[in-house]
Amino acid sequence: MDKTTAAPPPRARRTIAGIETDVIEIGSGRPLLFLHSGEGPTAPTDRYLRALAKIYRIIAPWHPGFGYTDIPADFRDVTDLAYFYLDLAQHYDLKDAVLCGASFGGWIAAEMAVRNTQRFSSLVLVDALGIKVSGRETRDIADIFAMPTAELVRTSYVRPDVAARDTTQMDEQDLAAIVQSREALCYYGWQPYMHNPQLKRWLHRIGIPTLVLWGAQDRIAAPEYGRAYAASIPGARFALIDNAGHYPHIEEPETFARRVADFAMAPA
């Protein structure tokens, strides 16, 4: 695996619609709003962002409450994040943009897309959470809050070493960011667990070309869940990325970027 560690792209603090958030902006061309999985857009690596930035102008925020900001006092659930990102799209005056979200970020992207796709012309959902597919006694999404950390990492990746880190050597600000992200994920996703029971009902409203990309070996949310997601969105395509678990953009960044570009071809 490529372990080269280029300096991370700069994180800039922005205030958008009264909410403080951190954003990475790199690359040029057609805008792509990337809504992160896990702890933030650079965790555990940002290689996929660099790969995308060869083609797109990337706007990659930390969800409010994740990383280095607090959960906004009056935010209650994922729909608040969806409306915030619609405000953010307006703030950046995005046009003909690609909306791409992974895992929890994919859930937010889907919530945005059922509300308003005016500023976006393509949607890419990557191992997205957010809907309920199976019956009440079947968990669609693995209970990450009931797994020991080592097991969670093993379950999330085909190659768990991509997420290896030594927290004893990290500085306190970055450790606090890990802790805050874990809290925020819990805050937004604890109950109902990582989904909005009403979201699937409204996915038919998504009227832009949609690609549902899935790690072929995802054991957090299985590919069948992804197929059900795609089947609920009119005309959506479903594709697997091989040799990848729940985070294919982390494990196969070049393949991931190529799939996104192949799908959302036309530059602005």
Partner: protein
């Protein structure tokens, strides 16, 4: 000092069934229903003896666990309201941040307070982290939910001209009008447990009783923070009655017998922290700073709570599950030996913490069987309790500092009033 008898109502026969977790994931097939029925009935019998022994009663609850069969403290409370006539009845307590319906709490507490003609004391607890998964309760911002539930319950119990409206952040009711009303006016006394001086300050602001467990050092810091906050509010010293403390207690005819009793009660300490890693530290339960410190130590997820660690008076950290009885006595985790020895230990503890008016005595735990439990309860109530009822505490430097703060606050109040 008043004494409150307590047992966790454990199910020790299942303690060897899973070395990783006795909570959350241990299937109930490990319960023999007849044995469990015996345990529940036996403990009610023991609590019911408190009337004759001059002891008060304390009850608690835990969920999905072989360490405690009481899944709702309100149930034995209601039974004991009829089984006893004199003892005060303390629940410590109700995990109100994990209860979906605070009005139900207000109704049940009012009912039992009436039934017992005003003997209920009402404890509200955050609950240990292991309760989160069992309740499926959101751990992030849970103390905000706790205080909203607290405010709603007390308003529901004390309002006599209802109904009233409540549309809060966490709870919504349009017609709150609690029937029956409680016996005590405006509501039973409130206790809140706390492991930290910061929560102690929050409790002091509301002038409730505060209780802590199994660490003399924590108790000392907590009571000091409480008394200091009361002084900052310009109010008179609350006295020891506001403070509670839970310890394991073994009283025997000989030192050896007392220590043997406490070693059996100590089965509680040896098992209470056996919980699968992810349930020990739900996100948002512990502070960001505590989690950062744990990550810095190399813990990835568990290990934030120190359920097994306790600090001795000299600062040495000991493991509750493996430490000697002498070390545990020093740390205030247990009091054990002959009646004379236990009296001396409790007096020393009382001086160390600056005065504590309520001793919650765990005289049963683990495999201590009925006959020894009764002996332990009798020796404690006859030979220890009469000698600790009126303990004095010497004025120390801490007290003088608190008095200076109080005088300043009272002067400022006078100036503000003029």
């Amino acid at each position: 000092m008043r004494a409150w008898y307590f047992t966790e109502s454990a199910y020790p026969d299942a303690w060897d069934k899973d070395p990783v977790s006795l909570r959350i994931t241990l299937p109930s097939s490990h319960i023999d229903r007849d044995k469990a029925a015996d345990i529940l009935n036996r403990h009610i019998d023991e609590w019911a003896m408190c009337d004759d022994l001059g002891l008060n009663i304390m009850l608690n609850e835990h969920h999905s666990t072989a360490t405690c069969l009481t899944s709702s403290c309100t149930l034995p409370l209601a039974i004991l309201a009829r089984e006893t006539k004199k003892a005060r009845l303390l629940v410590l307590g109700i995990p109100i941040a994990n209860r979906t319906d605070p009005i139900r709490v207000a109704e049940e507490m009012s009912y039992v307070d009436l039934m017992s003609r005003g003997r209920v004391e009402m404890g509200f607890v955050k609950g240990i982290p292991y309760e989160i998964a069992a309740a499926n309760s959101q751990p992030v911002r849970m103390m905000d939910r706790f205080w909203e539930a607290h405010d709603l319950i007390l308003k529901a119990m004390s309002t006599r001209d209802g109904p009233f409206n409540w549309e809060g952040r966490y709870f919504h009711y349009r017609q709150v009008n609690t029937w029956p009303r409680p016996y005590q006016e405006p509501h039973p006394k409130v206790w809140i447990t706390s492991g930290s001086p910061a929560t102690g300050v929050d409790v002091a602001r509301r002038q409730h009783r505060v209780a802590t467990v199994l660490s003399a050092l924590n108790a000392k810091l907590l009571y000091h923070a409480y008394r200091m906050q009361i002084a900052k509010m310009g109010l008179p010293d609350p006295g020891p009655d506001r403070f509670g403390y839970l310890a394991l207690v073994g009283v025997g005819d000989t030192q050896e017998e007392g220590e043997t009793f406490v070693k059996k009660v100590k089965g509680y300490l040896e098992t209470t922290g056996i919980v699968a890693e992810p349930f020990t530290n739900p996100p948002g339960y512990a502070s960001v700073a505590a989690n950062v410190a744990a990550l810095k130590r190399g813990h990835t997820q568990g290990g934030v709570g120190a359920h097994f660690q306790v600090t001795m008076r000299n600062g040495k950290q000991i493991n509750q599950a493996t430490a000697s009885v002498a070390e545990l006595v020093d740390a205030g985790v247990c009091f054990a030996g002959t009646a004379d020895q236990v009296v001396a230990q409790i007096k020393s503890f009382n001086d160390y913490v600056g005065g504590c008016g309520n001793l919650l005595v765990m005289l049963q735990g683990g495999t201590l069987h009925h006959k020894d439990t009764v002996k332990n309860m009798r020796l404690f109530s006859r030979e220890v309790l009469p000698r600790i009822q009126n303990l004095e505490v010497a004025t120390d430097r801490d007290t003088e500092e608190i008095e200076r703060v109080r005088e300043r606050a009272q002067r400022e109040k006078l100036v503000a009033a003029q």
